[in-house]
Point group: C2
Chain length 152, copies 2
DNA sequence: GTACATTAAATGTATGTACATATATTTGCG
DNA sequence: CGCAAATATATGTACATACATTTAATGTAC
């Protein structure tokens, strides 16, 4: 993608305020990064949400995780973990079985195949090649401070 | 939402780098803002993409816009403008008719009802109440600079 | 211990995204 | 002119999101 200011990108000449501009810029940039990452994911046959679930499961491994725990740790908490696990199960990247002690809950466990896939994908982590590395380390830290403040 | 650093929000204790942290922070914050805005939109009966299309149409008014122009100006260029226009047409917020001079193209025009809805929604613009205003004007400008650099 | 509330997960429905394909129209080249 | 390439829009399919509802199991109050 060519270097462009947000004004040029969306062909809106004037923003009402620096705030509105920052807001739109943030949403736009996030979409840009997500598309970028989705493209890098394609060769591996899983989507970003599926990848996020797998990473949580790897963090738990060899312990299983319940669906509730997955929802709790997901970036987007309102999404539907059950159906994402469906897809992962179909690809044999996780197993799912009813937990004996509380039969309402389900133990989700990453398989060896799932762990191996994550190993192959580890190089993608950290936003390498996504544009975030256009920043200096100091600028990245500055960005983190600003974003944390927005969510305060 | 309570004030939290990104580490606490997603319960991941250690990031590999300031870059990875910034990447995840950006995606997470953008999702947070979008959910926030979606909630503000709900009383008006339209979604964020539908709102974005309407704003572009207001910018063109009283000239019509083709679907191609909508796609070109949309924040997410790969999404499906045709079907979003379907929804807006069903709500009588836009009209659609074949353009006589080039019958491949379609003239999409915002209706009076659509303009009136946007007027009611104008207060929502600028990210007011979305957390972006937790920043000072100077910080917002700083954020804009950083984001533009990411997309360079 | 039965009845009611709570919790965990799955399912239903509408919307949007991503990408491939289809259909109609216009353009352009021989 | 006639036909292939390009263009504009629409449609099909798979996946994800958002939110409401359902189903089953557990906990709790009486």
């Amino acid at each position: 993608m060519l270097p462009m200011k947000i004004e040029d990108e969306i062909k809106q000449s004037a923003f009402k305020s620096e705030y509105q501009k920052a807001y739109i810029n943030l949403v736009y940039t996030s979409g840009y990064l997500q598309q970028n990452q989705a493209a890098m994911f394609k060769p591996f046959g899983i989507t970003l949400p599926q990848y996020n679930i797998l990473r949580i499961l790897r963090g738990q491994h060899p312990k299983p995780a319940t669906v509730s725990l997955l929802i709790e740790r997901m970036l987007d908490k309102t999404s539907n973990a059950s159906r994402i696990v469906d897809k992962l199960e179909a690809k044999e990247l996780v197993t799912r079985k009813q937990c004996p002690s509380d039969r309402r809950t389900v133990d989700v466990l990453i398989t060896d195949k799932g762990l191996e896939l994550l190993r192959q994908m580890d190089d993608l982590e950290g936003g390498k090649g996504t544009g975030i590395t256009n920043l200096t380390e100091e600028e990245a830290a500055q960005l983190n401070t600003l974003l944390d403040k927005i969510r305060d």
